[in-house]
């Protein structure tokens, strides 16, 4: 069926995104990786919707799209503040919440 390659693609994309998130130290790149993971999940929804012939998949995709947009706007704001205050975008340098 058509959905299997699409799901495989989604898994690969998600894996790439996760690896990027874990390996990158720059917050911007981490955000990028996060976006990839989100879109992988969205792709899986589309595939699912196509498989069952339901509109729910597309609905969820639209939700994720808006969520991603909102998330990015907030996250970029935080990144701006971080670079402004701490003069760095290195995620490992920002560990004030250490227990």
């Amino acid at each position: 069926m058509l959905s299997t390659p699409a799901l495989v693609l989604a898994i690969v994309l998600f894996g790439l995104g996760l690896i990027g998130l874990l390996s990158r130290r720059n917050i911007l790149y981490m955000l990028l990786s996060l976006e990839i993971m989100l879109n992988a999940a969205a792709l899986a929804f589309i595939a699912g919707g196509a498989r069952w012939g339901q509109a729910d998949g597309e609905v969820m995709f639209l939700f994720i799209l808006t969520l991603a947009a909102a998330e990015v706007s907030v996250a970029l704001g935080i990144v701006l503040q971080l670079s402004h205050r701490f003069r760095t975008v290195d995620a490992d340098a920002l560990c004030e919440l250490r227990g």
């Binding site: 996760l18 998130l21 874990l22 130290r25 981490m30 995620a91 490992d92 920002l94 560990c95 004030e96 919440l97 250490r98 227990g99």
Partner: protein, 629 residues
């Protein structure tokens, strides 16, 4: 007039309230009027009530008055109610009468003290509590008075509160008597559990019905009551507080620690005589305790240096006589000795107070001397008191009461001959220590220059009490001397007559009396020989010091203080030295555990976002794996 009975304790209580609430706004004269007036009014009321009592009840049964129901719930019915019979009337008369004289005396004695209002407030409260004690119809109300007098005793011993030793003495008095009170309370619990009743008369009637003579429960209750009485009356083994209690002002010692409060134990035992009659073993214990106390205290009184401590030990010794009488079942004799003792002992204390007053609070008898010429009033009254205490025959009241006790001991079926010998030896010691005091204080050369004789307010009570100390004894005279039985007739309804051994005739009574007389006179003579300045022995001995170990032992009251210090006080103090709550350790340990656990867990919280992301990913994988399986 009998209806006014409730006024007798209420009047001093009113005096207390007035003085406590607005004492600082009254002038000294007003305070004295309120303080003495309330007790005086109580004495007048007592006279009216007594007259009416004799008229209404020619046989002197009893009169009861209930003010209101104190506790009335779940099977317990206890009223605020008074019970007046010959015994309680006697007590009330002594408390209000002698109490009034002592109040009058204090008005002058305490005149320059800062706490004038406080003093009279406490004294009035004491009189009210003591009257409650003796008029109580039930044991719970009696207990109220019992604790109330204990509190007042505490407050008055520690009256001069700036001296820490006085405070210690006051606490000691309260705590030691409290031990006795607790025993008394346990006795009440047992009685109530058995009979669901606390009325003194009914409980005893029920006990007589329910318990055979010598039954265990009767023994236990009687013993508990005895411990209570022993604590209050400063008998062995709870006698240690009384000598220290002399820290209070002298009128307090006269009223509380001689005439009234310390005899509360005697009253309690006499009041509960039906119960004690059920426990002959306990009665024997009372007699032996009385004898031992009277001998120990009399020997200690021989070597004291403080005039008030001599009198304190003599009080213990005289109450020992009363206990002895109670122990052999001579109830009326005990009460008679109570009556004469409260007259002559109050007199002795007040006279001693007048000596102390004029010597600017000097209490050491070795610094006194030669006061006979300077203080004639005090000397003569003190002499009468001492003569009455040592039982100078025929003319003093002490002779008649002590003789009655000793005769009862001699002829009682539940006594032993050696008890009588001990008591007679005690009479000898009494003469010895009383006149040692006289010779030390009033004879020889003056060592401290006295101020003037006391004023009228102090002299009048002295003279009245001296008169009483001489004449009260004529109320009851033995067969051999006139055979007057006014006192025993008076008490005949309240207290049973003493059982005597059959077959004892008058000649043996006369011989017994002769022995007592000789013992008392021998004591006085010995005192003259040993202590009269100018006598042979006194001159030879005067150079020697008095720190022989046996003397120190006697001065310390046979070392009971040190013994209790070792056995009770120090272990207690070491127990209370550590103010930490040991149980708290367990919870501290729990808290420490939780803290170390969370310290260990918090290592996982690195603050690195990527570490968190990785753990989330791994965690998800593990969970998915678990689901897949």
């Amino acid at each position: 007039m009998l209806k006014l009975l409730w006024l007798i304790p209420v009047l001093p209580l009113t005096g207390f309230l007035v003085l406590a609430l607005c004492g600082d706004r009254l002038s000294r004269r007003q305070i004295a009027w309120v303080g003495c007036g309330s007790v005086g009014a109580a004495a007048v009321t007592t006279a009216l009530v007594a007259a009416d009592f004799f008229r209404t009840f020619p046989d002197r049964e009893f009169y009861q008055q209930t003010l209101w129901n104190w506790i009335n719930t779940s099977g317990m019915t206890v009223g605020i109610s008074w019970y007046l019979d010959a015994l309680s009337l006697l007590m009330v008369a002594v408390i209000t009468g002698i109490g009034f004289l002592i109040h009058l005396y204090s008005a002058e004695y305490m005149a320059h003290d800062d706490g004038y209002a406080r003093f009279f407030a406490y004294m009035n409260l004491f009189v009210a509590a003591m009257l409650t004690l003796v008029l109580a119809d039930n044991l719970l109300l009696l207990y109220l008075g019992w604790e109330g007098v204990g509190l007042c005793s505490y407050l008055l011993i520690g009256f001069w509160y700036r001296e820490p030793e006085y405070g210690t003495a006051a606490q000691k008095a309260f705590i030691v008597t409290r031990i006795g009170d607790t025993a008394l309370a346990i006795g009440l619990f047992i009685l109530f559990t058995q009979f669901t009743n606390l009325s003194i008369q009914q409980v005893q009637n029920l006990a007589v019905e329910a318990w055979p003579v010598g039954s265990n429960l009767a023994m236990i209750v009687a013993l508990l009551f005895l411990i209570g009485a022993v604590g209050k009356s400063a008998q062995l083994p709870l006698q240690v507080w009384l000598p220290d209690a002399m820290a209070g002002p002298t009128p307090v010692s006269a009223l509380i620690h001689a005439a009234t409060m310390v005899t509360a134990g005697v009253y309690l035992i006499a009041r509960m005589h039906h119960l004690f009659a059920l426990a002959p073993m306990v009665q024997e214990v009372i007699a032996v305790l009385g004898l031992v106390t009277l001998l120990l205290a009399a020997s200690s009184a021989l070597v004291q240096q403080d005039i008030k401590r001599v009198l304190a030990y003599s009080t213990m010794s005289q109450i020992g006589y009363m206990f002895l009488a109670l122990g052999v079942g001579a109830w009326s004799a005990a009460m008679f000795h109570f009556l004469t003792h409260s007259c002559f002992k109050a007199l002795l204390f007040l006279a001693a107070g007048s000596v102390i007053h004029s010597l600017h609070h000097e209490q050491n008898i070795f610094k006194m001397g030669g006061l006979r010429r300077h203080l004639p009033w005090t000397f003569w009254t003190f002499l009468i008191g001492a003569a009455a205490m040592s039982g100078v025959p025929l003319i003093t009241s002490g002779f008649y009461s002590k003789d009655w006790i000793l005769w009862s001991v001699w002829s009682s079926p539940i006594s032993h001959r050696w008890i009588w010998f001990g008591a007679v030896f005690g009479a000898l010691l009494t003469g010895l220590y009383s006149f040692r005091l006289i010779f030390r204080v009033f004879f020889g050369e003056a060592r401290t220059q006295p101020a003037h004789e006391p004023g009228l307010a102090m002299r009048v009570p002295l003279v009245i009490l001296a008169f009483l100390a001489l004449t009260v004894g004529f109320l009851e005279m033995p067969h051999t001397l006139g055979n007057v039985t006014l006192f025993s007739d008076y008490l005949s309804h309240a207290l049973p007559t003493t059982e005597l051994l059959t077959g004892i005739d008058e000649s043996s009574e006369a011989r017994e009396q002769l022995a007592v007389t000789v013992a008392a006179l021998l004591g006085i003579g010995l005192a003259a020989f040993l202590f009269l300045p100018g006598s042979l022995f006194e001159a030879r001995r005067s150079g020697q010091s008095t720190d022989h170990p046996s003397v120190t032992l006697l001065q310390g009251g046979w070392g009971f203080d040190r013994l209790y210090d070792r056995v009770f006080v120090r272990p207690w103090l070491s127990l209370t030295r550590n103010s930490h709550d040991r149980l708290d350790r367990g919870f501290d340990w729990l808290a420490a555990c939780a803290e170390s656990c969370h310290g260990w867990m918090s290592h996982t919280q690195t603050g690195h976002v990527r570490w968190y992301a990785a753990t989330v990913a791994v965690g998800t994988l593990v969970l998915l794996g678990l689901f897949a399986m």
